[in-house]
Structure formats: structure tokens, C-alpha cells
């Protein structure tokens, strides 16, 4: 102690982190330059004052609990920006590049001991981790966006087959577990090849886009719509019995067939063949349901198109 470096106090001011010291009654004993610059309280102004009187916006109860545990357990304590973005709402130093409202902070509370090894006061350090937080947020946003892109069919903006199947599998598992029900509708545009031949592929694309749009408007938000392949679509309806499914399938048929699609000042008349089924048996499984709806869809095509077929009506009696 005799050879103490005479500029130790200046070093505390040089540290590029907030450093301050409080005691049990939250009286401030040290306040470094970083704290002064960001808080607009100089060390001269604030030393000797109560922390909560200077910063009434601080979470007092939380702070008291934190400090109590440090006095009791003589142990360091931490906060991380991921859970608690900041303790002091300081500005971030990104006044031009922006993107955030405040400085993100990682904080550390460390006990300082007296000669008898009792906690004398608590030193709090505040690290500015704004850049890290921004990078982490950008990464998270990018992952969310990638997840979205990988689940969507680019042309129709509804779910693609991979994502839809994943959702349907999960739903069937849930149905099995909780003994609920789910209905499934599969439909296929009628004479789509002819539409493509007559109006070109762009005309066909517009038909698919409009069909998807009509589906989105017709179904409930809990129903999950996907493009199963080429001109084939699939929808599953959680908690829906076969009667309601029959009604909604009929509405769907009308929504598609009653209004032609406008394309380059021409009207394209379209229709769809629809098959549907419901999980009403002991052994529900995802592939079996798809097969049933597909069989009903095939029957609708065979019987002359632009119609709905219930698999349960064509199923061979057990």
C-alpha cells in the first residue's frame, strides 16, 4: 500500500466503462468520467448523494435486492443486455448511424471488503455493448427472415409444400395426443394445362396467385394453406368436423369458379376439383389422411370436375 501508484484515481477515469461505488444506504462514493459524461452528473455533484434521489427512474426494489444479496453472500452479481437491456438509460454514441434508442449494457456488481472481510461497499461496472447487441439483433432478424422465406412459395405467397407438410404432421400428432380432430382439403385446378396453353405461363401464374388469394380471404386464420405442387393446393382445418368442412369446401368451389380471373384485359374462367376428409378414426396418421383427400380429389376429377367429394362418402365400408 505504501507504494501506491499516485495516479490510480485517474486510471479509474480512463476506463472506457462506467464505474461507480455505492454503500448499503445507496450513497455514492465514486463516480468515474464515463458515468459523468453519460449521466450529466459530475463526480463533484453526485458523490455523497443517494443514488435513487439522483436517478428516480431506477428500479429501486430490484436494485435493493441485488445489493442485499451481495452484502449477504459476498458474491458478484451480473446483468446482461439480453435480459435487461440497460440499468441507466444512457445515449448510445450512434447519433448519426442510429438504429437504437439507448446504450445496451452488461453490468457487474462486485463487493469491496474491509480489513475484517466484511462487505464495505459495492462497485458497479457498466460495459457498453451496443454494437454487440445491434449485431445480435441483425442476426436474429436475418434468421427470422430466412425462416420465413424458406417456408413460403414465392409465386403465391402461401406456405410451400415442405413447410405445410411439417405443420400438418405436427397437427396430426397433436390430434392423436389430445383426441381432437382435424380436416383436410386438397384441390387441383381444372384443365390447368389448357389455361397455360391458351394464355401462356404468365396467365397460368396469375390464376395460381388469384386462387391463393381467394383461399386466404375465405379460410380462418387458424386454417393452414399451402401450395402442394404445380396447380394443387392443400388446407388443413384444426378442430373442424366433416359437416363444416363440406360447407367450406363448397364455398371454396364457388369462390374459385364464380368469378373469372382478369388477365391482360381478358377473363380466364377457372374451376377446381376438391377432395376432403376428416380425422375420424382410431388410427389417424398424416400419410393416410393425405391419401384419403387425394383419392376424393381424384373422384371429383373423374366425375366431371368443378365439384367437392367427401372421402367418407366414397370410402369402402369397414
Amino acid at each position: 500500500m505504501t507504494n501506491k501508484f499516485p495516479y490510480a484515481d485517474d486510471v479509474v477515469d480512463c476506463i472506457d466503462n462506467g464505474v461507480f461505488v455505492i454503500d448499503k444506504s445507496f450513497k455514492i462514493h465514486l463516480w468515474n468520467d464515463f458515468m459523468s459524461i453519460h449521466s450529466r452528473f459530475s463526480a463533484e455533484q453526485i458523490i455523497g448523494l443517494n443514488l435513487f434521489e439522483c436517478f428516480p427512474e431506477l428500479p429501486k426494489k430490484w436494485f435493493e435486492r441485488k445489493v442485499k444479496s451481495i452484502y449477504l453472500l459476498k458474491n458478484q452479481s451480473y446483468t446482461s443486455w439480453e435480459q435487461r437491456p440497460y440499468i441507466f438509460k444512457f445515449s448510445h454514441g450512434r447519433s448519426v448511424t442510429g438504429g437504437v434508442e439507448h446504450m445496451y449494457q452488461n453490468c457487474c456488481f462486485t463487493p469491496i471488503f474491509d480489513l475484517d472481510n466484511n462487505v464495505e461497499c459495492v462497485c458497479v461496472t457498466i460495459k457498453n455493448v451496443t454494437d454487440l447487441a445491434i449485431k445480435a439483433k441483425q442476426l436474429k432478424d436475418a434468421v427470422t427472415q430466412l425462416e420465413y422465406i424458406s417456408s413460403i412459395d414465392g409465386l403465391t405467397q402461401i406456405f410451400n409444400r415442405t413447410h405445410w407438410e411439417q405443420r400438418f404432421k405436427t397437427e396430426v400428432e397433436r390430434v392423436k395426443r389430445y383426441k381432437n380432430k382435424v380436416s383436410l382439403i386438397m384441390f387441383d385446378m381444372d384443365n390447368f394445362k389448357k389455361i397455360n396453353d391458351k394464355y401462356g405461363h404468365l396467365g397460368g401464374d396469375e390464376v395460381l396467385r388469384k386462387t391463393a388469394e381467394r383461399c386466404v380471404n375465405l379460410f380462418r386464420s387458424v386454417d393452414v394453406i399451402g401450395r402442394y405442387g404445380g396447380e394443387e393446393f392443400c388446407v388443413f382445418l384444426p378442430e373442424t368436423n366433416i359437416e363444416n368442412t363440406r360447407n367450406v369446401a363448397e364455398k371454396l368451389r364457388h369462390a374459385i369458379a364464380d368469378t373469372p380471373v382478369h388477365y391482360e384485359s381478358k377473363e380466364i374462367f377457372i374451376s377446381a376439383s376438391i377432395g376432403f376428409t376428416c380425422s375420424n378414426k382410431e388410427k389417424n396418421n398424416y400419410e393416410a389422411l393425405l391419401k384419403e383427400a387425394d383419392e376424393a380429389l381424384y373422384t371429383a376429377k373423374k366425375n366431371g370436375r368443378n365439384q367437392c367429394v367427401n372421402f367418407l362418402d366414397i370410402a369402402p365400408e369397414d
Binding site: 428500479p59 426494489k61 430490484w62 435486492r65 442485499k68 444479496s69 449477504l72 453472500l73 459476498k74 458474491n75 458478484q76 452479481s77 451480473y78 446483468t79 446482461s80 439480453e82 435480459q83 435487461r84 452488461n106 457487474c108
Partner: protein
């Protein structure tokens, strides 16, 4: 390698004694902080191998889904550097119960739930390690706690394909709180070289007896 890592009977008994006393102290300070009687199990000490790490963890932590927080500790200026990590494991306790434990009154968001896990883990970690450090006449430094995962399988606690140790000492302590169904497991893990250092410290302390 494994042979000289085995504890002699004296070392083993002394380590058990140190842990027992350390945990007793930890239990006392936690009881004061939580204002409820905290019970700690007798620490169970064993050596686990990297090859069987997953099996060992599954046996030590029988729960299906867990939330876990890790934290590192090390000593100052010793060669080899004595270090290890603790893992605090929550399996059945609700966040409401955790919040009650430390008078956490804010409304629980996902972030605050994580803060609760970190806060309680840090408290338990600090209490346990300071108890043991005092018995060993060492001073431990800690790294900030971080969440390994929430609702994960025990198999995902360690990245077993990337372990840099062959053997590790495992000290497991079970915590429970009197009036609540709160329970958590605390695992203290030390890699090979830290075990060797611990054995040296134990020998010195045994010589002084």
C-alpha cells in the same frame, strides 16, 4: 491417466468433508437470503469420463426436460490454473415460484424469466463455491452466468463431441426449499488438470492436520 486421478481414501474423505462443511455454510446464507429454510443434499462426488459423459449426466439428472445455466470459476495465479464450471439445473420449478424466492415482483416476460434463472443460479453458485473456497483457503473468481438452454434434453447439456478433457470430477448437490416445491440440482465439474491441482491442495491440507 485415470489411475493417478483417483483419490486416495484420505483425499476422498477430506474432500467430502470440505464439501459438506461448505454446503452447510451455503445453506445457511441461502436460508437468510431467501427467508426460507433451504435444504441441501449431501454432496455426491464422482469421477466421470468424457466417453461416458452423456450417460453419467442422464443418471445424475433424471429429468426429461431441463433449463440450465452455466458459470465458470477459476483461481488467481496458480499453476496449473485451477478452474471448472458449475451448472445449475432447473427441472420442475415454475417461474412464479422462482420469482417468489427472491421477491421478484415485476411481470414475467420471457426476458425476465431468463433473468430469474441467471440470478438464482448466480446466487446458488456464489454461495456454494464460496463455501468450498473458504475450506480450501482459496479465492475463486467467477465468469458471468449464461443460459445453456431452456426446456432442453439432458443430452444437450455438454457438447460431447467437443470436450477437451478425458476425466472430470463431478460434485452434485440437490437444493430444496421448505415451503415450496422449489428444487434444483447444482453440478460442479472440474477437468483433469484442475483435479490434479485439487489433489495437491488436499495433500497439503492433510499434512497440516
Amino acid at each position: 491417466m485415470s489411475n493417478n486421478l483417483n483419490f486416495t481414501e484420505d483425499q476422498g474423505e477430506y474432500l467430502q468433508e470440505i464439501c459438506n462443511v461448505g454446503m452447510g455454510q451455503a445453506g445457511e446464507s441461502l436460508s437468510v437470503l431467501f427467508e426460507q429454510y433451504v435444504t441441501l443434499s449431501v454432496p455426491s462426488i464422482e469421477m466421470i469420463t468424457a466417453a461416458n459423459a452423456t450417460e453419467s449426466l442422464r443418471r445424475l439428472i433424471p429429468a426429461e426436460k431441463i433449463s440450465a445455466v452455466r458459470q465458470g470459476f477459476y483461481t488467481h495465479v496458480t499453476d496449473p490454473n485451477f478452474c471448472g464450471e458449475s451448472i445449475t439445473i432447473f427441472s420442475g420449478t415454475s417461474f412464479e415460484e422462482l420469482a417468489q424466492l427472491i421477491d421478484f415482483e415485476e411481470e414475467l416476460t420471457l426476458e425476465l424469466e431468463q433473468e430469474l434463472l441467471l440470478e438464482i443460479s448466480n446466487i446458488i453458485n456464489g454461495a456454494c463455491l464460496s463455501g468450498i473456497a473458504e475450506q480450501l483457503s482459496e479465492r475463486f473468481f467467477h465468469t458471468p452466468p449464461s443460459i445453456i438452454g431452456q426446456y432442453i434434453a439432458v443430452e444437450n447439456l455438454l457438447q460431447t463431441d467437443q470436450l477437451q478433457w478425458d476425466h472430470a470430477l463431478s460434485i452434485k448437490i440437490k437444493y430444496s426449499v421448505e415451503k415450496q416445491s422449489f428444487e434444483c440440482d447444482f453440478l460442479l465439474l472440474m477437468p483433469d488438470f484442475a483435479v490434479k491441482y485439487l489433489q495437491n491442495v488436499l495433500n497439503k491440507l492433510l499434512d497440516e492436520l
